[in-house]
Symmetry: C2
Subunit: 433 residues, 2 copies
C-alpha cells in the first residue's frame, strides 16, 4: 500500500469531521484511493484547547512552517476559515507544489482568482467541493457531470440556517426571533447570525456556483443580496393561501444576454421540489439544455457532511496525480465573459403587503398609482377586520413587472395619505419564465 502524508490547517468543526472520517472510514478510503493517508501535521491557534477527537499531541502545531517546509506533505487541507492568513498559507503551499483542498467559501468568492491562478501556474490541484452546500457534490456535479450542457439557470437553497428558520416559521408558525433562537440553540446559527440571515453566506456560494456554471468571473459585489429578517409569520400565511412557500433562494439565470444573480427570500409554488426542502437541508435545482431539470439535495453544513466533501476531494487528488504537480486546470471561470445584470433591470412577480387606514377609495388610489407604473395586479386580498387603530392589511400579487417600476410605485405609495406602512415586498418565482 502506498503512503501519503497530508496536513490539516484547522481542527474546528470541519477539521474534526475530516479527522473522524479519515479514521473511521480508513479501510474504504484506502481501497478507493490506493493510498494509506497519514495526517502528519495539524495547524491550530491554541495547542492546549480540548479537542473532540483524540489526536496525537506531536502532530498538533501552531507553526505553519512545520507544514510548509515538510516536502513529504503532499496535500494541505485548509479548514481554518477567514481571508488571512488562510490565503497566504495556501499560496505558499502551492508554491511548494502541495495540492490544496479548502472549504473556505468566503475566500474563494472574494479573492479566489489569485488562488486559481496560482494552482494553474504550479500545476497543483485546488479542490473546493465543501465550500458550497457542504456534503452535496454540486461542484463536481457542475464541473464534471454536466459538461455536456449549457446550464440555463439554477435555484439553490444553500444556507441551512435560514432554511431551518423559514421551515420553523412555516410549519410551526413561529416568529422570526423565536425561530432564530431555536436555530442558535440547535447549533445551526452562530451567536452572531448576520452572515446567514442577511444572506452573505448564500451570496458567496452563489458567486462560486454561477462562476462555475456559466464559465465566467463573478464579482461577488455584483450579486444582489437580501436577507430574511423582514419575513413575518403573516407573510407565510398569505403565501400559503396562494399555495406557495417562502424560501431564501440563490438564483442564477440568463436575462437579455446578461446574468441575473440574486439572493432573496422568494415565494415559490408549494409543489416545486425546492418547496419541500425543509429543516437545515440544502438543495440546488439546475436546468441544463440537455439534462433538463436536475436537483441535488442533502446536508449543507455540519462536521461530517462537510468533512465528506473534503475527504472526497482528497481521494480525487490521490486518484489522479498526487506525486506529480502537472495538473492542467480547465480554467472554468474565464471561459466566457458575462455581464451581470443590475437588480433594477430585473423582472419578477411581486407580493406586496401594505397597512392602510380603512377608508373608502383607498384601494382605488393604490391601484391607480400601480397602474401609472405599469404594475398590473393578479390578485388583491383586503383583510376584513381592522385593528384598534382602524387599520387594515392589503396584500397585492402582481403580474411580471420590472424592479424599477415596482420601486417607483412603492415610493409613491409611501407618500399616499392612507398608507401607514409598506410592510413587505417579496419576489415570486414560478419557474416558468
Amino acid at each position: 500500500m502506498k503512503k501519503v502524508k497530508i496536513a490539516l490547517m484547522g481542527l474546528g468543526n470541519v477539521g474534526t469531521g475530516v479527522w473522524m472520517i479519515l479514521d473511521s472510514n480508513k479501510k474504504e478510503i484506502m481501497k478507493r484511493s490506493g493510498y494509506d493517508v497519514e495526517v502528519a501535521k495539524i495547524l491550530v491557534r491554541n495547542k492546549d484547547k480540548k479537542r473532540d477527537v483524540e489526536v496525537p499531541e506531536e502532530i498538533i502545531t501552531t507553526d505553519f512552517n512545520d507544514i510548509l517546509e515538510d516536502d513529504s506533505i503532499k496535500i494541505v487541507i485548509e479548514v481554518m476559515g477567514g481571508i488571512e492568513p488562510a490565503k497566504e498559507y495556501m499560496l505558499k503551499c502551492m508554491d511548494r507544489n502541495k495540492h490544496i483542498v479548502t472549504a473556505n467559501k468566503m475566500l474563494i468568492a472574494t479573492e479566489g482568482d489569485e488562488l486559481f491562478e496560482k494552482a494553474h501556474d504550479k500545476g497543483v490541484v485546488f479542490n473546493y467541493e465543501a465550500s458550497v452546500a457542504g456534503g452535496i457534490p454540486i461542484i463536481k456535479g457542475i464541473e464534471e457531470s454536466l459538461t455536456a450542457n449549457k446550464i440555463e439557470e439554477f435555484y439553490g437553497i444553500v444556507n441551512g440556517t435560514t432554511n431551518y428558520i423559514l421551515s420553523k416559521m412555516q410549519l410551526e408558525r413561529l416568529n422570526f426571533d423565536v425561530a432564530l433562537k431555536q436555530a442558535q440553540d440547535m447549533g445551526y446559527a452562530e451567536a452572531d447570525p448576520t452572515s446567514d440571515i442577511e444572506g452573505f453566506d448564500a451570496q458567496y456560494k452563489l458567486a462560486i456556483l454561477s462562476s462555475l456554471a456559466f464559465g465566467t468571473k463573478v464579482d461577488v459585489n455584483n450579486v444582489y443580496r437580501e436577507g430574511i429578517t423582514k419575513i413575518e409569520s403573516i407573510d407565510m400565511k398569505y403565501a400559503k393561501k396562494f399555495d406557495m412557500v417562502i424560501k431564501l433562494l440563490a438564483i442564477a439565470k440568463e436575462s437579455n444576454g446578461k446574468l441575473e444573480l440574486k439572493v432573496q427570500p422568494t415565494m415559490i409554488p408549494k409543489e416545486h421540489p425546492l418547496a419541500n426542502v425543509y429543516d437545515s437541508f440544502n438543495a440546488i435545482f439546475i436546468k441544463g439544455n440537455a439534462v433538463g431539470d436536475l436537483m441535488f439535495y442533502g446536508r449543507g453544513a455540519g462536521s461530517l457532511p462537510t468533512g465528506s466533501a473534503v475527504v472526497g476531494d482528497i481521494v480525487a487528488i490521490l486518484r489522479s496525480n498526487v506525486d506529480v504537480a502537472n495538473y492542467s486546470h480547465i480554467a472554468q471561470n474565464d471561459l466566457w465573459h458575462r455581464e451581470i445584470q443590475n437588480i433594477s433591470e430585473s423582472h419578477s412577480k411581486f407580493y406586496i403587503r401594505i397597512t392602510v387606514i380603512d377608508q373608502p377609495g383607498v384601494l382605488g388610489e393604490i391601484t391607480t398609482i400601480l397602474g401609472k407604473y405599469n404594475v398590473s395586479l393578479r390578485s388583491v386580498i383586503q383583510k376584513g377586520e381592522e385593528n384598534s387603530k382602524g387599520q387594515v392589511t392589503i396584500v397585492l400579487f402582481t403580474h411580471k413587472t420590472s424592479e424599477a417600476d415596482v420601486s417607483s410605485a412603492i415610493e409613491e405609495l409611501m407618500n399616499l395619505k392612507p398608507v401607514i406602512t409598506i410592510d413587505n415586498v417579496i419576489r415570486i418565482e414560478d419557474f416558468k419564465n
Copy 2:
C-alpha cells in the same frame, strides 16, 4: 484545438440525443474538454431509415469493421442496446485500445464483469453513467464524490415509466390500465411494457448501483423483484389515509451483515423527499455514514437527458487520457465480497388488503392466525359497506415482521373459510430501520 474522432453504435433515442448535444453544445464541449469532437462513423441496422437528425450520409454504416479497424477512432459509444452483438463489439473495440461509453444497463447488470475486466486489462476507460437514471449523475456521484463514505443504504425511484403510472394513479385516481395506456401514449412506456412494469429495468439498475455502492459483485438474479401490476387505486386510497404514497423503489441496505436488495412497490411516508418525486422523474436517496442523507433528482430517461450523461462520459475521457490507454481502474465492484440476503430473511412492516365475508368473529379469526406467526398489528381498517355479495374489505397494517412469518400467515389466511381473496400485500418503508 486538438481533434478527436469518436464513433456511435446506434442512432435511436439515445444516439440521436448524443448527436444533437455534440452539435448544439459544440462550443461548450470544446472549451470544457479541450477537444474538437468529430463523429467519424455511426453504426446502424438500416442505412435507409429516416432519421430525426441530419447526419452526413457517408458516416452512416452497417459494417462494424468500419469502426473497429479505424485506429483514428479513440472512443466508441455503444447505444444500440441488447446483449449481442453489443457485448462482442465493445470487447473487440477495447482490444483495439478504444475507450467505451455505454448506456446499456441490461448488459452491464447481467454480463458486465467481462467488460470491466477487459477494460482493466487493456487500460481503457469504460464509462456507463447513462445506464442508471438517465441524466442524473448518480454513478459519478457514488464513484467519485462519495468516496469518503461507507454507503449504508439507498432507495431509488429508477424507472420513469412506473413512476409516471403510479403518479397518475395517485394524483388523478386512474386505474392501472388507464394510467399505463397514458404512459404509452406519452411515449414513456413501450408497446411491450413488461420490462418496466414488472420491475426488470429497475432490477438491472439496482444491481449496477448496489455493486458500486457496496463494492461487491451483485448477481442480478439475487435481487428480489416485484412489479406494480397488482397495485389498485384502492391501495392508493388506503395509503393516503395513513399519510403514505406508493412508489416502486429499488432498495439496498445492510441487514445482519448481508445485503438486502429489493425492487418492490413500497408505501412510504408522504413527507419523505422520495414521496414528492412525481411524473416520469427519477430520484435516488442515499445515506452515507459521513454525508448523511443525500438525494439526486432528475430525468431518468429520454433522448437528451440520457445523451447528457453519455456526452458527460465522453468529456471525462477527453479530459483524462484519450491518447494513452493507461487508465487504472479502481475495480469498484470487487472490493469486498458481500452476501445477498434471501427475501425470506427480510423484515418489513406490511399493508395487507383482504376481502372477507362479513360475518361475526371473522376479524378475530384473522388476528388469531396472524398472532400465531408473530405478526402483530399496528392498525386495522374494516370498510363499513359490504358489497352485493356480503363481502367487505379489511386492511391490516403490521408492525415489523419477517417475510417468512407473513408468508406463512397469509397462506393460512387463504384457507380460512370467510376469506375470499388476499387482494394485496405491500411492504412499508418508514426509513427508520
